[in-house]
Amino acid sequence: MELNGGSVVAMIGKDCVAIASDLRLGNQAVGIASNFDKVFPVNDKLYYGLPGLATDVYTLREHLRFRVNMYRMKEEREITPKTFTHLVSSTLYEKRFGPFFIEPVVAGLPTPTELDPHPKPFISTMDTIGCITTPKDFAVAGTAADKLYGVAEGLWEPDLEPEDLFETVSQTLLNAVDRDALSGWGAVVHIITQDKVITRTLRARMD
């Protein structure tokens, strides 16, 4: 965790969710790259962030991509946020006694169905061995998690519209990583709504 650094935050809004991460990849105190994205898309309604040990970020992402692609081809439909959370969880628990050093965050909007025409926005987070939490407000993880909790607790409010949610999540992330030496070096924010995903790269302090 503290080797490469990096943080992720996700928040629920009104019919939208946001997920954001910083872009730093470090080797302890030395910064190596400022383009290391930790948030990946599953489809245009579902994203996930993998803060933690960078080698495991790649490995876990490739594992998940394998499994999601097989799921998609066999089922001929997209995986739902809830199912995906359990997929991540069981993938992590497979390595119970030699875990991936990753604390994933999942954020997505379930597609409306006949049974559930107005699904609620969904976020979840896990520990390194896949124990799931599904918060109603926000989820944080990474080396700036403690700072993120504080800022998010102060800034978040219920039923934010997409643009307001963008502002809230961006300010939360930027101000939290400024207090963390191992996170920062730029940030990327995704706002997921039913009809589109807004992705913006943020300028941040480069020190």
Partner: protein, 288 residues
């Protein structure tokens, strides 16, 4: 004499033949026709469905209006019986025993994902063809097993060779083509393709050639989505990434109407009715 060497797949006959492999190929030549045409702009593939009938419940089969689209889900529109997505950049049309085909599709998808896992790139088309053919060949050599009764057409794109079209048979042989055909009437369809194929076809011309030859090859005069699956492999106009599209029934009927090859419901009635499995074999289990 020959019969003595029939029961074992892995024994040569005195004439140097492997009968079980030849029988597998024979099974395929009764199966629904699959043909594909390569062009500079992309590849078109059409496949004849033989499992039709009034009582067949297709309500859960792919092809609903809610499925598919123009982007990454374009491949979800139809297919499922003859045409399958093997990977982001590869579609395959299958002729032969359906259950064998399903198992091969699963193997192919797994192999493609394994490649993506180790190399972080889509598997090159020929490499996936080789993976499948290595397995198919194994079943003609190792004891106690039956060869796969499946031939495949693969169409795909990779950054090294661009658009490619391959064909493979139960023996594990494969070859690359500009236009080719497997399944029933493949020899007559091939000669039609040879006659009408031109270098520098556009994709639209390839699609129309594909369907025109199909209409001449199939028994019925008018084509429709009930008896046909259709797919294209192109590059996305903006991202320049491979775009696999399996046509929805409604889209295919629209295309057929544009080409004046059918596509209307009325022409269907009575065409396949009462024949159940349809076609020469008449057995649903082996005739797709």
């Amino acid at each position: 004499m020959a019969r003595r060497y029939d029961s074992r797949t892995t024994i040569f006959s005195p004439e140097g033949r492997l009968f079980q492999v030849e029988y597998a190929m024979e099974a395929i030549s009764h199966a629904g026709t699959v043909l594909a045409v390569l062009s500079k702009e992309g590849i078109a593939m059409a496949a004849e469905k033989k499992v039709t009938g009034k009582l067949l419940d297709l309500s859960l089969a792919p092809g609903g209006e809610g499925m598919g689209g123009e982007g990454t889900e374009a491949w979800m529109g139809g297919g499922g019986e003859k045409i399958f997505l093997l990977n982001n950049n590869i579609l395959a049309g299958l002729a032969g025993i359906t259950s064998d085909a399903n198992s091969l599709v699963n193997f192919a998808r797994n192999s493609a994902q394994k490649h993506l896992f180790t190399y972080d790139e889509d598997i090159p088309v020929e490499m996936l063809v080789q993976r499948l053919c290595d397995m198919k060949q194994g079943y003609t050599q190792f004891g106690g097993l039956r060869p796969f009764g499946v031939a495949l057409l693969y169409m795909g794109w990779d950054p090294i060779y661009g658009f490619q079209l391959y064909q493979s048979d139960p023996s594990g042989n494969y070859s690359g083509w500009k236009a080719t055909c497997i399944g029933s009437n493949h020899s007559s369809a091939s000669s039609l393709l040879k006659q009408d194929y031109k270098e520098d076809l556009t994709l639209e011309e390839a699609k129309s050639l594909c369907l025109k030859v199909m209409s001449k090859t199939m028994d019925s005069t008018k084509l429709s989505s009930e008896k046909l699956e259709f797919a294209t492999m192109t590059l996305h106009p903006q991202t320049k990434q491979p775009l696999s599209k399996i046509y929805r029934p409604s889209e295919l009927d629209g295309l057929l109407r544009d080409l004046e090859l059918g596509g209307t419901k009325e022409d269907l009635i009575g065409a396949m009715e009462g024949t159940g499995g349809g076609g020469a074999v008449g057995n649903v289990a082996i005739s797709t």
